[in-house]
């Protein structure tokens, strides 16, 4: 039997750590997904940079695809 709290987490509700300080809670209140920050903090700084490279490459590829389909917006 899964309890309600665990079920909510499975469904994507962020469980703010009890030890979270005011800055963490303020960032949450601004709508920032702190579960992603927690994930990032589980990586090494170098792994974070490599993941950014991958994301940046994806963004660039999407921009290029849009440009080739709809033309330059310059």
């Amino acid at each position: 039997m899964i309890d309600a709290k665990t079920l909510a987490q499975i469904n994507g509700q962020y469980d703010c750590p009890s030890e979270a300080g005011p800055a963490w809670r303020e960032a949450m209140a601004l709508g920032l997904d702190m579960s992603l920050v927690e994930y990032n903090l589980s990586l090494t700084p170098w792994e974070r940079l490599l993941r950014n490279d991958q994301a940046a490459a994806f963004i660039r590829a999407a921009q290029n695809a849009e440009r080739s389909q709809y033309g330059s917006t310059d």
């Binding site: 030890e19 979270a20 300080g21 005011p22 800055a23 963490w24 303020e26 960032a27 601004l30 920032l32 997904d33 702190m34 992603l36 920050v37 990032n40 903090l41 700084p45 170098w46 974070r48 940079l49 490599l50 950014n52 490279d53 994301a55 940046a56 490459a57 963004i59 660039r60």
Partner: protein
Amino acid sequence: MDQLTEILQRLHDGNVEFCLIGGLAAVHYGSTFVTVDIDVCARFTRENLKRLEATIANLHPFHRMTRDRRPLELTDELMASLKNLYLGTDLGVLDCLSKVAGIGGFEEVMSRSVLRCFPFGQCYVLKIEALIDTKMAIGSAKDKLVASQLKAIQERHLHQKL
């Protein structure tokens, strides 16, 4: 293909005097905001700028803010009046600044930087508290959000040290 980490490595290997600032420094600390450029504060001396030019020479660097995508060609005349370099390269965008908002020039930036280890060696990265200061000084909506994340990350680091 964006490979900002390779640009970082090239700057390191080319003995360019620089400090990593901006969005990539924020990513390094754990920010989730993806950035498509690498921002550095560099010493704007003739020698350092020539090292920078040499280390990215085969990446077809150009002044990305010029409409005609003018190739990077650092003459003595140009270097004497340079404050920033906004460059496009085959590996992505590289912005080099001589001053950083909320902090100051290269020496002030270095005094608020820390040496961090990467697989290729060590690079200076702006300290998280200084990065927050500059993000707040820039003051755009996005920069304020990044600053909020960085404050939360800094708080967590401080809490873990207690």
